[in-house]
Symmetry: C2
Subunit: 179 residues, 2 copies
Amino acid sequence: MSLRHGLLGLLAEAPASGYDLAKRFEELLGAVWPARHPQIYGELARLRDEGLIEIESEGARARKVYRLTSEGEGELHRWLLSEPDHTLRYEPLLRSFFFWTLTPAELLDVAVAEAAHYRTLRDTYAQIAQAKEASGHTQTPSGRSVRTTLEAGVRLYDALAEWAEWVSEQARKDQSGSS
Amino acid sequence: MSLRHGLLGLLAEAPASGYDLAKRFEELLGAVWPARHPQIYGELARLRDEGLIEIESEGARARKVYRLTSEGEGELHRWLLSEPDHTLRYEPLLRSFFFWTLTPAELLDVAVAEAAHYRTLRDTYAQIAQAKEASGHTQTPSGRSVRTTLEAGVRLYDALAEWAEWVSEQARKDQSGSS
DNA sequence: ATTCCCATGTAAGCTGTTACATGATTCA
DNA sequence: TGAATCATGTAACAGCTTACATGGGAAT
């Protein structure tokens, strides 16, 4: 149940509507925990039923702004101190188990494309981090946490990029040595 | 639909029963794509209906050994050359967005525990990789692919361990400088 | 005999996605 | 007035987990 805690976490920063939260998930949290609006609206209704959030105000177009209750704050805190769920599900690494069924030429193509993808992501996160620091966004507590997560993204995708390049080098060797 | 391709990939190596496949998922593929036996049995039935796999033999205790058909082989190959789904869903990184709600002391505990977890995983994968190389498991094509995936695991968790240590250092600074 | 492992499956429920639907407001 | 964006939701389906259920075979 990470989605509910993701919502509680965002609301800990500032009150927001379902629409706002859906957007922040897409642009910010989506990189590590994707969520679509139907799921978000449903979860918000449940969180309200359980008293973890409440409606602060209602605006135009049925817009509802939610705010964290103290119960919600407690639940968020309890969650952050509990054992994390380290379950990883990442398709590109599943694929790598079956690389042996590809020819060296095919593997080379795949690995080069993967490396490019990871490099791009790494650079994107590094740039965002730099921009945040330059514009003073890292001086608020939540801004510093975003910086922390970005740092994880940079390191993670840097590692994957180096790995994919290592794979492509091996494929290149296999290719030249096999005929 | 990664589960079905994971099953096809395992069957590309050698025919196996649902039970065998469930075990291999748990011990091998589970690190990047967890799957429980009910899902596996269900998917195998569907794969058989669609002609991607077939029953090679039936043994004691209703044991059914499946084998890849040429259609299945084709589907696996097509999948490996298609665009990967780069969706990542990893709870520990979602949590890091909300680290700012913790006190420096709490964050320090969390980060130290995380670092230990990642170090352990990294070392485990490094050891398995070494053992595989020493015992000649990396000389078969599929063994070399396992080695490739293990290399990703080592690099990935090494990066996360360094990140968590970086986080814990920051928390330590905040702790000493805040009073 | 009993316990453990082998081996398969069903059923219920939860999580998450895609498609559909509706209507208000803003801007060109 | 038409298009884009705001804003919320429902319905159907797909993917995955947990609990339940059954029975054969091997070993002590």
